[in-house]
C-alpha cells in the first residue's frame, strides 16, 4: 500500500501551475471519509458531475461518522465567505471521521472559475459539480431545500439527514452540527 507521501508526490509530478500541498503527509484514518487529499492545480483539478442520487451514493459510502454536504457556487457571496471555515473543519476533523462533500452549482462554462476557487482554497475532494435540471437536483437532494444557496446538510452514517439549513454559517455552527456525530462512539 503506497504511503501518503508517495501518493502526494505521484499526484504532484504531472501537475503544472499552482500546486497545493494541503492534506499531504498523513493518511486519512477513515478512508473515504476524508476524500481526496487537496492536491491539484487550478487548471487540472478534476471536476465530477453528479446528480442528487449520486451525491446520496457518496453519502452512503461507509467510512464516515458524519457527512457534511455543502452546495455552493463561485457567484454566491455567502458561499465564498463560509468556504474557508468548511475547508478548515474538513481538515481538522478528517481523522475523526468527517466527510465533507462540496457540490458546486456553477454552470458548465464556469468550470475554470470553479477549479481555481477550489484549488485556491485547498478544498478536499471529491470536487463535485451539480448536473441536470435544478428542480430535480434540489428535490432529489432534500425536499426542504428551496434552492437558495448555500445549503448545508449533515448526515449520519446511515445517510439520514440530521442537520439542514440554508444560508451562510460560521465555523462554530458547522462544528456544532457535526460534533454530536463525531463524538458518538461507533
Amino acid at each position: 500500500m503506497p504511503r501518503p507521501l508517495d501518493l502526494c508526490l505521484r499526484m504532484l509530478l504531472p501537475a503544472a501551475g499552482i500546486v497545493l500541498l494541503a492534506g499531504c503527509g498523513h493518511a486519512p484514518t477513515h478512508g473515504s471519509a476524508a476524500g481526496s487529499a487537496a492536491v491539484a492545480s487550478g487548471d487540472t483539478l478534476p471536476l465530477e458531475p453528479v446528480t442528487a442520487e449520486q451525491v446520496h451514493e457518496r453519502i452512503r459510502e461507509p467510512g464516515a461518522r458524519a457527512t457534511l454536504v455543502n452546495v455552493w457556487a463561485t457567484w454566491c457571496g455567502p458561499c465564498r465567505e463560509e468556504f474557508p471555515a468548511l475547508v478548515a473543519l474538513a481538515e481538522r476533523d478528517r481523522e475523526r471521521g468527517l466527510r465533507v462533500l462540496f457540490v458546486s452549482a456553477d454552470f458548465d462554462d464556469q468550470a475554470h472559475e470553479t477549479r481555481h476557487f477550489l484549488a485556491e482554497h485547498r478544498a478536499p475532494g471529491p470536487w463535485l459539480v451539480k448536473t441536470g435540471r435544478d428542480q430535480e437536483f434540489i428535490d432529489g437532494l432534500d425536499r426542504r431545500w428551496t434552492g437558495a444557496l448555500p445549503v448545508t446538510i449533515v448526515y449520519d452514517p446511515a445517510g439520514k439527514p440530521v442537520q439542514f439549513w440554508e444560508g451562510g454559517a460560521d465555523s462554530a455552527r458547522f462544528a456544532a452540527a457535526v460534533e454530536p456525530l463525531l463524538a458518538t462512539q461507533p
Binding site: A73, W75, C76, G77, P78, A105, F107, R133, D134, Q135, I138, D139, R144, W145, T146, G147, A148, L149, P150, V162, Q163, F164, W165, E166, G167, G168, R173, A175, A176, A177, E179, P180, A183, T184, Q185
Partner: protein, 211 residues
C-alpha cells in the same frame, strides 16, 4: 465506551440539538391557497412613491417577485421577469418587484442601483424596497428571484421560479411563471403551481426584536 464523554462533546451535542430544533422555523412559508401577507405595508419604489401589495393588486390577480440587482440568477432572468410583469399589467394582474436585500451586504442593491436597473430594463411596474425585509419573511421567500402569483381572490396559486432555463431564454421548455400568469388572467387553473430553482439567498436585514 460511553458516547458524549467529554463536557465539550456534551455541549456540542446540545448546540446541535438546538440547531435541529430551530432550523427552518424562522420563516412563515406560504403554501398554495394562502392569502397575500402584509398587504397593507407601504414600500418605497424607484419612482419615489410608496405602494402596498393591496395598492398594486389587479382585478385578476397579483404577481410578487422578490429580486435584486446583484444576484447573477436574478440578472439572468431579469429581462424575462420584466417582460412577464409588463404583460401581466396589461392582462389585469398587478405586478410588483420587491428588493428585500440589505444593501450593506451588496451596495449594488441600494435605491440608486434599483433606479438604474428599472430604467435599463424598461420596468413598467413598481420596483420597491422591503426596508425591514419583513415582507420577505412573511412570504417565506428565501432567494432571488422567487415569484408568488395570487389570483383575483388573493389566494396563492403559483410559487417558484421563472422558467427552466436561466442562462438561455431561447432554450426554455417550461415557462412556468409566464404560463401561470396567462392561466390566471384567463380564469384557468394553474397547471404547475410549484417549482424550484437555485438562486441567491436573500440578504435579510436583522429582525427587530420586541421587548
Amino acid at each position: 465506551m460511553h458516547a458524549l464523554r467529554s463536557p465539550i462533546a456534551r455541549l456540542a451535542a446540545l448546540a446541535g440539538l438546538a440547531l435541529a430544533l430551530t432550523a427552518g422555523s424562522a420563516r412563515a412559508d406560504l403554501v398554495i391557497g394562502d392569502a397575500v401577507p402584509m398587504k397593507d405595508v407601504k414600500m418605497t419604489g424607484v419612482n419615489g412613491k410608496s405602494v402596498s401589495l393591496a395598492d398594486v393588486a389587479g382585478k385578476k390577480g397579483t404577481l410578487v417577485v422578490f429580486t435584486c440587482n446583484h444576484c447573477p440568477w436574478a440578472k439572468m432572468w431579469q429581462t424575462r421577469v420584466t417582460e412577464i410583469g409588463n404583460a401581466a399589467g396589461k392582462a389585469g394582474i398587478g405586478m410588483v418587484a420587491i428588493n428585500a436585500n440589505d444593501p450593506a451586504e451588496y451596495p449594488e442593491d441600494n435605491m440608486d442601483g434599483m433606479k438604474q436597473r428599472a430604467k435599463q430594463l424598461g420596468i413598467k411596474f413598481p420596483y420597491v424596497v422591503d426596508a425591514s425585509s419583513d415582507v420577505a419573511r412573511a412570504f417565506g421567500a428565501t432567494r432571488t428571484p422567487e415569484a408568488f402569483l395570487f389570483d383575483a381572490e388573493g389566494k396563492l396559486v403559483y410559487h417558484g421560479t421563472i422558467d427552466d432555463s436561466p442562462k438561455d431564454a431561447t432554450a426554455v421548455k417550461d415557462a412556468w411563471l409566464k404560463n401561470a400568469v396567462n392561466e390566471v388572467s384567463t380564469g384557468k387553473t394553474v397547471t404547475t403551481a410549484e417549482t424550484k430553482a437555485m438562486g441567491c439567498s436573500i440578504k435579510f436585514r436583522a429582525a427587530k426584536t420586541t421587548s
